[in-house]
């Protein structure tokens, strides 16, 4: 100031420029596509995208034509049943693991997460091997139940979809419930016990109300995922459609973008309504669950309870892990229609380099590039909203998080709707459009993870740098990034490992040149090539497991953060 004259007077505008770039990206690739979809939903079927063609035809069809109406109904049935069943399985299991003395708790917890990490469509097709029309498990069970005059129905249809989704999503409830039961204040329960309350009374009046917010959040997560899931109903649905598969059907079968847009809008409205209701209900009952040392929590020692709990957890865990075991076995055989697989072979694997080399390259390339760009975008936006707090930070935050609750098919409908090959910017069938869809869908992962690291980073470290004369970009590079790197890395790993198995967005966006491994698995299943599909799945799972394993052993926060976002 004295000898050195200030280089410039007035405010520093760089943050606003850098704020502007991500905003621009979001405007072009998120807001505009969503707005486009919304407008398109009001276009007559088959008509051009123009304000002259406005009509409510698309919506009218949803509420009048049988296939639309039944899809809507099916989506509701699936969403609600999967949520209820997940609660019925997850809550007791969480209670057993947290409150009953049973062996192998650690293992139950770490195996319990596997169904979530595994792509749900892989689970679906291995259930076909087990419970399909000629499924091995079904054959065995029917043979046993035959004398009683009972029959297990095949996995196809609504029941199978619900069953398979429940086995995929119950871990959300189980893990959150376990955490809540484990953390609920032991002192509160002790004092109630001293006042003479019975165990059941304490459960009803103290413990359950305390964990209700956690359960509410878990149910919401399950519901949103269930009605947004594409892979399971696509494989197990057959003639039974739900909204995401109907969207796919409208586009893939009829190139009816306008119709697909109407369905997408309805799908988003359902998600939004549920989200809103949950916010209203849960925010009214937020209690401070003061966590206490886990050892203080009273455990059931009773022998009956222990045996029951062990068996219950064992059955659930084995059932939810059967698909993984099944596809590993299947990948070494050509056929598995009777009790035992037939035709041992290594061909399923040996053919991969030739048949799937390009797909593996695509999957790796798309995921890596998208992860890299997502890491930059997510960290930058997290830093800006958290540290610079510009006007409109709340809007940016919401915009970034919105795709987190949007079903993958909706995101791709929006992108197709805005960038299909007859549009102004033609991106159909390119790598670019897939990478953009991946970025839009996964930025929340990195964003959340980085915001969490930033809130733990004392701002005075960055202020010290500013005062020492550093421009904020310098500060970001030299101080903030090195210190939030763990957050960036864990968010990126989660992004990468979930992108490798992405199906629901890719399936509407890929072209001949951009097929990925999950797409190939999906079509192999449709062609009945279960051996080939299994071998590809095993490789994919191995990669995902290795990545998840490494990330778990390098940073603790990643997995729980990943769980919350799935």
């Amino acid at each position: 100031m004295s000898n050195k004259k200030p280089r410039m007077k007035g405010k520093d505008i760089t943050p606003f420029l850098v704020f502007f770039l991500p905003m621009l990206f979001l405007c072009i690739f998120l807001f505009w596509p969503l707005l486009n979809t919304l407008l398109r939903a009001f276009m007559k079927m088959g008509s051009k995208f123009s304000l002259d063609n406005l009509s409510l035809q698309g919506f009218k069809r949803i509420f009048t034509m049988p296939i639309y109406l039944s899809s809507l109904k099916n989506s509701f049935i699936v969403g609600i049943s999967v949520t209820v069943l997940s609660l019925l399985i997850g809550v007791p299991m969480g209670y057993c693991v947290a409150r009953v003395r049973i062996p192998g708790k650690k293992m139950i917890l770490s195996l319990g997460i596997l169904p979530v990490i595994m792509p749900s469509f892989i689970g679906a097709f291995s259930w076909i091997i087990l419970l399909g029309r000629q499924g091995t498990l079904r054959a065995a069970l029917n043979w046993m139940l035959g004398p009683l005059g009972l029959q297990i129905p095949s996995i196809y249809g609504l029941g199978g979809i619900i069953f398979c989704m429940t086995m995929t999503y119950y871990p959300f409830v189980f893990l959150l419930a376990e955490g809540a039961f484990g953390a609920a204040n032991a002192l509160l329960e002790d004092s109630a016990m001293l006042m003479g309350a019975s165990r059941a009374h304490i459960m009803r009046t103290i413990t359950l109300p305390l964990i209700l917010p956690s359960l509410g959040a878990a149910s919401l997560l399950v519901f949103i995922r269930a009605i947004g899931n594409f892979g399971i109903p696509a494989i197990l649905g057959g003639e039974t459609y739900v909204l995401p598969t109907l969207i796919y059907f409208r586009i893939n079968g009829f190139w009816d973008l306008n119709g697909a847009a109407s369905i997408a809008v309805v799908n988003v409205i359902i998600t939004g309504t549920v989200l809103y209701l949950q916010k209203r209900l849960v925010s009214k009952r937020q209690y401070e669950v003061v966590s206490s040392a886990r050892s203080q929590i009273r455990q059931h020692e009773n022998k009956g309870a222990r045996i029951f709990a062990s068996i219950f957890c064992f059955i659930v865990l084995v059932t939810s892990l059967l698909p993984q075991i099944t596809i590993v076995i299947m990948s070494f055989f050509t056929k598995w229609t009777g009790l035992f697989p037939e035709g041992f072979t290594l061909n399923n694997y040996l053919r991969i380099p030739k048949n799937s080399g390009h797909e593996f390259f695509n999957s790796m390339f798309l995921s890596l590039v998208a992860t890299f760009l997502t890491a930059i975008l997510g960290s930058l936006v997290a830093y800006i909203t958290e540290r610079r707090k510009p006007k409109g930070a709340a809007v940016l935050d919401m915009a970034i998080m919105a795709p987190f609750v949007l079903p993958g098919t909706v995101v791709s409908v929006a992108l197709i709707s805005a960038f299909h090959n007859n549009g102004i910017i033609a991106l159909g069938g390119t790598y670019t459009i897939i990478i953009i869809s991946y970025m839009i869908r996964r930025t929340p992962y990195v964003y959340r993870s980085v915001v969490a690291s930033l809130t733990q980073l004392n701002p005075s470290l960055e202020e010290a740098s500013t005062i020492a004369g550093a421009h904020w970009i310098y500060t970001f590079r030299r101080v903030s990034v090195p210190l939030i790197l763990p957050g960036i890395i864990s968010g990126s790993i989660l992004t990468f490992s979930t992108l490798l198995q992405e199906l629901s967005t890719t399936i509407l966006l890929y072209g001949a040149k951009t097929r990925t491994v999950p797409i190939q698995i999906y079509s192999a299943v449709n062609e009945g090539l279960l051996g080939q599909a299994s071998a590809l799945s095993v490789i994919l799972l191995l990669i995902v497991f290795i990545i998840t394993y490494i990330s778990n052993h390098s940073g603790k926060a990643s997995l729980s953060a990943g769980l919350k976002m799935g």
């Binding site: 405010k11 004392n458 202020e463 010290a464 500013t466």
Partner: protein, 372 residues
């Protein structure tokens, strides 16, 4: 050559125009002289940190001006102000060794490597860390006092125009605090950088500062040297914040430098200099007396008030008597320092206390004054 740092009518309102508005600084105006070590002192939440952060540019003030010499720095962004700051938490970078921590401001300024080496070595010698610099560990492995020195070195290395210290000693233990405050004064006098030092510890402020500003609820109550604040406090708040003050309520009697303690036939007269009441006879005033301006005796005199001895503490140079005096419905505890033990007075005894003639202060009766 340093210049004046002056604040002109500075106001800071957090969350302005909302329900949660906090008026953290009110019309703050004063000037810090070049090379001065200036202390900001006040109770928690009075706005010391806010004033410091506004000086650094980390907060934008709501109105007013901050001038450095003739330059208005109010709107200059913080990274262009050339200021050094030491944070309470030290804010050292865990991912850099101590050399890189200290060199940070030079690296930002793209100083050539040889110059960086020379400057870092020089400043580390100044703060007494030349040996640690040879090992060059991560700052996380250093003791609190050493971390503090690194933080000071980091703030000084690029010759800032102003040095800001926000409670830099709060994280150190009592013995180290005393040592480090002397060190800080030594370093400041050696470098002669205009320095603002924030603390809520009046002993620390009096020991270290050339001048002090006492803040209360965002308002500067008084500015002066330790001596001026102690001997000529402008109001009851300052008088009780800088050193201890015993208070009595009273009324001006006769001339304006004598007053009668309420409900007693006692007249207190003060040195005209210290009389801040300027009141007519009958005006209510607050009569203040420092512990050493009072006396304890086992004998009554015409100017004494009866009380009961609570605790007697031997504090080295003097003996402190705590005497409870009935006051309206409750009672008050007075602290009185005597040069030596008064024979015949034990804890629990009835005694008589008085204000030495010509000593004591008159303050206007304030509603919210912290009477004790």
């Amino acid at each position: 050559m340093s210049l004046n740092l002056s604040y002109q009518g500075v106001n800071k309102i957090f969350n302005d125009k909302t329900k949660a508005a906090v008026h953290a600084l009110r019309d703050v105006s004063f000037t810090v002289n070049p090379g001065e070590l200036f202390c900001l002192l006040g109770p928690s939440g009075c706005g010391k940190t806010t004033l410091l952060r506004s000086t650094a540019g980390l907060e934008t003030i709501t109105s007013g001006k901050i001038m450095y010499g003739d330059t208005d720095i109010t709107t200059i962004p913080p990274f262009r102000r050339n200021i050094g700051m030491v944070f309470q938490s030290f804010a050292l970078y865990p991912h850099m060794n101590i050399f890189e921590n200290v060199a940070y401001g030079l690296r930002v300024r793209k100083v050539p490597e040889a110059e960086v080496k020379r400057k870092v070595t020089e400043v580390m010698e100044l703060v007494g860390l030349q040996d640690e610099l040879k090992r060059n560990p991560s700052p996380m492995g250093l003791s609190g006092g050493q971390q503090q020195r690194v933080a000071i070195a980091r703030a000084l290395v690029y010759d800032p125009d102003i040095l800001l210290l926000d409670e830099p000693l709060a994280n150190l233990d009592a013995k180290l605090r005393r040592y480090m405050r002397a060190e800080i004064r030594r370093i400041q006098k050696r470098t002669n950088i205009t320095t603002l030092f924030v603390t809520h510890d009046q002993e620390e402020a009096m020991a270290i500062g050339d001048r002090l500003a006492v803040l209360k609820l965002g308002v500067v109550e008084q500015i002066g040297t330790s001596d001026e604040l102690y001997n000529k406090p402008e109001n009851a708040f300052v008088s009780n914040f800088i050193g201890k003050m015993n208070f009595f309520s009273g009324q001006i009697e006769g001339s304006c430098d004598s007053a009668r303690i309420n409900g007693r036939p006692i007249i207190v007269s003060v040195d005209h200099e210290k009389n801040r009441s300027d009141g007519m006879p009958g005006t209510k005033v607050l009569i203040g007396a420092r512990p050493e301006q009072m006396e304890v005796s086992s004998l009554a005199s015409s100017n004494s008030i009866e009380g009961k001895v609570g605790i007697i503490q031997h504090l080295g140079q003097f003996i402190r008597y705590e005497v409870t005096v009935p006051c309206n419905v409750s009672e008050k505890t007075m602290e009185i320092d005597m040069p030596q033990l008064v024979p015949g007075i034990k804890e629990g005894d009835e005694v008589f206390i008085s204000i030495k003639s010509g000593k004591g202060f008159f303050f206007p009766q304030e509603v919210s004054v912290n009477e004790q």
